[in-house]
């Protein structure tokens, strides 16, 4: 039997000092790092919201920005935003949970492939799916409506994508796979003994699902709900594409107007709106905390287990159909459109005499694109890895220790997610440009890397927190008792068990970096151009087909990454 090994006395004072000051030192460093990444840009924005002019210009302090929030236009926009986000998050959550259960806990055929296919829509640039859906669902000549008219022989309209429904639907393309990615591994990593105990005590399958399975997943599902709801509040492309033409205003389109649609941009009102939404989200977070307080969500214990797979019999073909249906609607249709359009001269014009490989040649020969691709890959790999490490540490401290300051760290890590992207981008610009010149951040890749890390940390923390919440303490304690230090326990026990979550978080952050535009366009310099900026140039330069080709390249990358990721998971959890 082994016992804990005492500290070697030779290491003496230094190590004793470290073990006494190590903890406050690490907390201090973390707070400093997080503070720089999140509080500093937000502080600049706060200044902007209470000052009549942006940083660097003479002006005065006043509350005009916050008073502007009370204008009927803005209040209406806020109400629209909350409603749209609530509806789409609710629908997406239901759909995602259903599909996660189907993939992780039933014997539906083709689960492995379906799992990858279901998550694809998340990785397609929104501007492409918006264009595709605009072509499919416009009331004049949309493909779906034309088909409907042909079937019914009339001239009615089945769907009009330029509506509240259209905005919600487009947003669901992203939130459903996003939430799915969050919850599917939580479903997998569940000790069935709890469910068995429930069934043996007389509960029906339905009761067991709600009161045991679903209840145990609350940290993950509520985190996913909140992350997705907040993202929905900040969605821009869906609203600008499908809402603006029919006068539906949301928070981000109002902010966009304030910044870009005035001869004199109104940063004060824009940043004030950003903070108003941040406060609202903060309230949500508090509610989540209340909901989860004091409850245990441990499902992964030291005992070996294999989650039960429900045998559905003939019903498994229905579940199969649901997943395939989702895939067809959200992936096959728009991606099919992209694929098709990439081979024709013009998006949406499928005439044989317009078949061409020009767009592929154009992207292949575009030096600027490949340089940007290289920059983005570098920033993506380094950024996602660094962010997951940072997030993993923060999540550990906030969920598995009783260290003072852990709540502060958790809050700091949330902040960037709650501020609309285009406002946060300005915060980074103001923040980094005004740093002392000897700090080589502004005008270099570091500016982009730090901004991406700030933007990705909330996802990293949420994903790993949810996973940690499921792992019992006894496993960790067992490791320490056997002589492993904190680092070894962290890596070989926690990370190994939470590996699926780490992998998912990494992929989410990597692709978030690929698509991030708001901060990138304000921080890039010609040498540090990234893919999202080049795609904007292609789009504005009248080459949406080239953007489709890039979108397809990104999809191919996604498929590759997800395949690699799932193979790693299979090696570690042999239940698939």
């Amino acid at each position: 039997m082994t016992v804990a090994v005492p500290l070697d006395h030779r290491e003496g004072a230094f190590v004793r000092g470290l073990s006494r000051y190590g903890r406050p030192l690490s907390i201090g460093l973390l707070v400093l790092a997080l503070g720089f990444l999140t509080v500093y840009p937000l502080a600049m924005l706060l200044y902007g919201s209470i000052h009549s002019t942006p940083p660097g210009m003479a002006g005065e302090f006043n509350a005009a920005g916050y008073r502007a929030l009370l204008a009927p236009d803005n209040l209406q926009a806020l109400a629209n935003t909350a409603l749209i986000s609530l509806v789409k998050t609710g629908l997406s959550l239901s759909l995602a949970i259903l599909m996660a259960w189907i993939i992780a806990r039933t014997d539906t055929p083709g689960r492995g492939v379906l799992e990858i296919l279901i998550t694809l829509p998340f990785f397609i640039p929104p501007i492409l799916t918006a264009t595709a859906w605009a072509m499919l669902g416009n009331k004049q000549v949309g493909t779906i409506n034309l088909a409907w008219r042909w079937i019914t022989g009339g001239d009615g309209t089945l769907i009009d994508v330029y509506s509240y429904g259209g905005i919600v639907w487009h947003m669901m393309q992203y939130s459903t796979p996003f939430i799915f990615l969050f919850v599917v591994d939580a479903f997998r990593a569940m000790d069935p003994s709890l469910e068995e105990a429930s069934r043996m005590s007389g509960a029906t399958r339905w009761q067991t699902f709600w009161r045991v399975t679903f209840a145990l997943m609350l940290p993950v599902t509520t985190s996913a709900f909140i992350l997705s709801f907040i993202r929905g509040m900040e969605a821009f492309e869906s609203a600008v594409f499908f809402g603006t033409p029919v006068n539906i205003k949301v928070l981000t389109t109002q902010i966009f107007d304030l910044i870009t649609q005035r001869a004199q941009p109104d940063y004060q009102a824009a940043t004030a709106m950003g903070f108003a939404s941040l406060v609202l989200m903060g309230v949500l977070l508090v509610l989540q905390g209340r909901l989860l307080r004091g409850r245990s969500f441990t499902t992964v214990t030291g005992k070996a287990y294999a989650p039960t797979v429900a045998r559905l019999g003939p019903w498994r073909w229905l579940t199969f159909a649901i997943c395939v249906g989702f895939f067809v609607l959200t992936v096959a249709l728009p991606v099919g459109q992209l694929l098709l359009s990439s081979f024709f001269q013009f998006f949406g014009f499928y005439q044989l005499d317009m078949l061409t490989l020009d767009h592929y040649r154009s992207v292949w020969g575009n030096d600027e694109f490949w340089r940007a691709f290289g920059n983005t890959m570098l920033l993506g790999f380094v950024g996602a890895t660094a962010t997951m490490i940072l997030g993993g540490i923060i999540a550990y401290i906030s969920t598995r220790t009783t260290w003072p300051g852990r709540k502060l760290i958790d809050v700091l890590a949330w902040l960037p997610w709650m501020m609309p992207g285009m406002v946060l981008g300005i915060g980074f610009l103001w923040g980094f440009a005004t740093l002392p010149h000897w700090m080589p951040i502004y005008g270099s890749l570091w500016a982009l890397l730090l901004a991406y890390m700030a933007l990705g940390t909330p996802v990293a923390v949420r994903v790993t927190s949810g996973a940690y919440a499921q792992i019992a303490r006894d496993i960790e304690e067992c490791s320490r008792v056997h002589g492993a230090n904190w680092g070894q326990t962290m890596l070989r026990i926690l990370v190994a068990l939470a590996w699926p979550a780490f992998a998912v978080g990494w992929v989410l952050i990597f692709f978030g970096i690929m698509r991030e535009l708001s901060a990138s366009i304000l921080l890039y310099v010609p040498d540090t151009q990234v893919m999202s900026v080049v795609m904007l140039k292609m789009w504005n330069g009248g080459k949406p087909e080239d953007v489709s080709v890039v979108g397809l390249i990104m999809l191919a990358l996604v498929l590759l990454f997800r395949w690699v990721q799932l193979r790693f998971i299979k090696q570690r959890i042999s239940t698939l």
Binding site: V141, M354, A433
Partner: protein
């Protein structure tokens, strides 16, 4: 009398010739200094334009001076310049943006005088340069019609034809309540036809969209027969589609893009040589053939035939920067 004038001219000739030679020598010094600087950095609000890239590449080939392009949208460029200068970071040499943003930034002191340029003499008198800015190129706006849905004799011959009830609910438009083509269209039509024009146009229930590229394609796909205001240079992206640009009889509203030297530019000589190069007829011909109205004399006549007829129409008027916000507010009032 005539002999005296002639003698006077003959006497002055050497002085004039020396002065011209001196100017040439001065300019050559600027060019040499520019080549030593080796680089020029331009902050431009034309995102993704292959024509601008062509002109920048031609400059690089001619002078061996590298052009670093920072492309972003108008307000992003403006905020970056403002913040950088406020923080004492002087990274950009040249600013290239629409006239309203340039006017605002002149007022805010973001530019410095660029001195005389030899090619000033090329500039069309319609577009006056001043100490801190020169005209770069001009974007013209007209009507885009779908050829399958709009027969030739139904095409709008006057801007007022848009008020015809047959186009009710069928006009896709850039938003007049936002900056961009719509914000040029609105004041120009207001000045030409009065508020009544806009009130009647509002009753036509135009569908507003902010995504210009997509709007043009939507017209091409037959979702809407008409799209206004159409930026003429975008026609390059639509060749082969069943659409055509139509310039009504009253002419084309336009907006000027300007070049200005940024304050404390790190490569001031390269910047001056670049600005001068922009005003060469060859450079302006690239823009002309693309559908921008050139700012230099004698270029329209050399453009490709299909574009020449469209460019040879009347310029109808442009925005007045100090009144921009007032116009946006009026547009919001009329087009709820």
């Amino acid at each position: 009398m005539r002999r005296r004038r002639l003698l006077g001219l003959l006497a002055a000739a050497p002085a004039i010739a020396r002065s011209a030679a001196a100017q040439d020598a001065d300019w050559n010094k600027v060019v040499d200094a520019a080549k030593k600087e080796g680089k020029v950095s331009i902050y431009t609000a034309t995102v993704g334009s292959p024509f601008h890239k062509k002109v920048f590449d031609a400059f690089e080939s001619k002078y061996g001076i590298k052009v670093d392009r920072l492309e972003a949208r108008a307000s992003e460029i403006r905020e970056r310049v403002r913040v950088e200068q406020a923080a004492g970071r002087f990274l950009g040499d040249i600013h290239h943006n629409g006239s309203t943003t340039t006017w605002l930034m002149t007022r805010d002191g973001n530019f410095q005088p660029h001195g005389t340029l030899p090619n000033y003499k090329n500039i069309d008198t319609t577009y006056e340069p001043d100490d801190t800015k020169i005209p770069a190129e001009v974007i013209s706006y007209c009507v885009l019609v779908n050829k399958n849905l709009v027969k030739a004799n139904d095409e709008p011959k006057s801007w007022k034809d848009l008020l015809d009830p047959k186009w009710t609910g069928k006009i896709l438009s850039d938003d007049y309540r936002a900056l961009g083509g719509g914000a040029v269209f609105f004041p120009v039509m207001l000045k030409a036809f009065g508020r009544e024009f806009h009130e009647k146009l509002a009753q036509q229930k135009p569908v507003f969209s902010r995504d210009i590229q997509n709007s043009e394609r939507r017209c091409a796909r037959g979702e809407f027969p008409i799209y206004i205001p159409f930026s003429l240079q975008d026609y390059n992206n639509l060749k082969g589609l069943p659409v055509k640009p139509v310039v009504p009889a009253e002419g084309r509203p336009y907006v000027r893009f300007d070049l200005a030297m940024l304050k404390n530019a790190p490569h001031p000589n390269a910047a001056r040589v670049f600005m001068n190069f922009y005003l060469e007829p060859e450079s302006q011909l690239v823009f002309g053939n693309a559908g921008y109205a050139p700012v230099v004399k004698g270029v329209v006549e050399k453009t490709l035939p299909e574009i020449r007829d469209l460019l040879a129409t009347k310029p109808m008027g442009t925005t007045d920067p100090p009144k921009q916000d007032e116009m946006l507010a009026l547009a919001k009032e009329i087009y709820k």
